[in-house]
Amino acid sequence: MTAEQGVFLFISFVILFSAYAMVTRSNLVHAALFLVVTLFGVAVVFVLLDAGFLAVVQVLVYIGAIAILMIFAVMLTQDNAAKEQESLNTNYGWALLLSALFAFALIVMLGQWQDAGAIAPALGAERDTVVELGAALVSPAGYVIPFEVASVLLLAALIGALVVARPQKKGM
């Protein structure tokens, strides 16, 4: 058991435990905080996968923006009269069965894939993956079109969110 394997096992235990806690808490603020722990664990997994830039962007975007937005939404829409509500709806039995089956099927299928036992090839010492990622995102032979489309998507989401969440004025 190398140190890397130990770290991976620990962090995957943290991720799965806090994801389970997030899914089962009825207090939504606690669920959001467990979501933050899960997202941070995923960032650590990215570091293990030699994708340091993605790890930092994960913390910046998911924890710094999305998780905070979720906590805001939870705080703004909380019904104070009914504090301890049931968290699950009436279909939770079927949901449990379906998601367990799905995860199990995925695991079995992936385990039987021939390349599943592959070990990571060496990356090469002098590679700067950040520079290569930047070049890939803006070069015409790379992924500049998805990049530009993603920026248009973000602009549309920005305008859409503003319009949808605007307080409706009477007679407007």
Binding site: E4, Q5, F8, S12, I15, L16, A19, V23, L28, A32, T38, L39, V45, D50, Q58, Y62, I66, L69, M70, A73, V74, L76, T77, D79, E86, S87, L88, N89, N91, W94, A95, A100, A103, L106, I107, L110, D115, A116, A118, I119, A120, P121, L123, T129, E132, L133, A136, L137, G142, P146, F147, A150, S151, L154, A157, G160, A161, V164, P167, Q168
Partner: protein
Amino acid sequence: MIPLSWYLYLSAGLFGLGLYAVLARKNAIAILMGVELMLNAVNINIVAFWRYLTPQNMSGQAFAVMVFAVAAAEVAVGLALVISVYRRRKTVDASEINLMKW
């Protein structure tokens, strides 16, 4: 050394938990949190495949960045919708928001 299958099992487990959250929770915001879990699982998958199978080609990381952008956009619009619905119906319970016009 960590075999690729460990990362794939982790992302499958996380995806299953996210799917359970989407299907079984009442609160609309909790459903959105489940969707976030699923997107994160997909991201782990993409980056693991990039690292283990094609580390010289940057498409894995480029598409992980796209998934970040899409997730952020979706959360923004989704939460705006949830807050707007809360203003009208005074509830965010997904089983109660079942009428198109009232």
